[in-house]
Amino acid sequence: MVTQGETLWDRLENIDRRVLYLLLWIVVLSPLISPLGLPVSISSSTVKYYETIENLPPGSMVVVSFDFGLSALGELYPIAFATLHHLFSKSVKFAIIATWNEGPIVAKMIIDKLKPEETYNKVYGEDWIFLGWAPGGEQAMAALGRDFWGTITLDYLYKKPVSEYSIMQNLKSAEDVDLLISFETGTPGADEWVRQWWEPYRVPMLVACIGVMAPTVAPYVQAGQVLALLPGLRAGAEYEKLLSKPGLATAAADAISTSHILVLAFVIIGNIGYLARRGRRK
């Protein structure tokens, strides 16, 4: 209802934020409950990310770094889940580390769901290892690059010396690493990995980041320092499609579209209100 002295355009510019939030709940929950099946097109960067892992020669050594905490679970969990599934499906060896102290919680959640021994027939300590958290941010990355055994002394799952695992006989420094995959939300993240692992050792890198970090990481892709970038949940849906393993990102794809349409609609409505009011004043 338009009150006295207040026009429809004024109202359009000053919609109660609680109305917006209510609409947001509706447009996000509806497609999650009843999926619309909107098409997901796959970008070249996602294809590159997929192909880099797909084309790893058997026996390659990969380091997967969980550089995020629980706050980014919604956006990075599906990508990390799909990536670990992809790695477990291949004949490559990999070590999981974290430069954020909540990273191991997320990694453990994924490992518990994937059940590598049962599902992929992978042996812990031989095909993969969970090294856990390396505190210190960039200093830890530099230390890991120089000396894995000295930086993380016991593994995360069984608290046994890392030197006792067969996989670690081939993982002593960054020079032994064929690919680094970082899931990141900020600092420490891609900037630091590029400085400490790409520049001195030229370790090829893949990065999956929350959307808001994409403009920061994109220049590294242009310069060839990062092979491919998966920016956000939408890219996660693309990656799941390539893997033919629909997961949380695929389930979220419709909700991403509907929520963005709502934001766009309100930006347009707000602008119409602003322009109309300005035109009337003139």
Binding site: E138, P161, V212, M213, P215, H260
Partner: protein, 243 residues
Amino acid sequence: MSDFTAFFGAFLGVLFTLGVYSFLYRENPWSRLAEHVFIGSAIGYGIAFDLDWLRSQWEGRWSLSPEGTMAFAFALLLGLLWYFRFSRKYFWLYRIPLAIVTGTGLGLAFRTVVFAQLLTQIKATAGVQLIGVDAWSAFNNLLSAIMVVCVLLYFTFTVKQTHPVWKPVNTIARYTMMAGFGAAYGYTVLTRMSLYIGRCQFLLGIPPYAPENVTFFPWIALLILASLIGYDFYVKSKTAVKP
């Protein structure tokens, strides 16, 4: 995990998630409770994790030799100096670990920052291909190079930009920056929405989240919403009675 633990965990997860989101209505005791529990548990987790890491370092490396034990004790002592931050008298001691951390951090970063984040980027921008690529890529590369140069020139404050040649340069720079800000804003919206969608998936118990979540979701949502709206009506009616 027992059924009861899973059930109780799901209940708490839904309660605190909706407690946080109740802030969208307005600040209220539910949101404050959730906020305080989150902060407390995060700090508790951080401390426990730090101590666990110290223990693993001690057991895995430093306790194995007398030299290692000495070095570990020395590092611990240095670490304890951080706490002099809270002492007015011995505040200066806090500067020792601060200097070490700052020094090593800067030293490590400066070692490669010029190459990794400056020279490589300049080379990538300057080395754009205009010949030997398709027309669209050549146009895109040319545009990128022009835009980068214009933005850099825009921030050249040592020259007074009064000459007419600056006008198109500054216009291109402004549009380039606006496009950049727009892209950044778009990705910000994507992130915020994605995080929110992730929580909605949690509330709906979409696998891998616990299916029990969806049982609690409507009831707790109703409880929180009813308490907030009910309280607002109560306050309104009380103030309406007063003359």
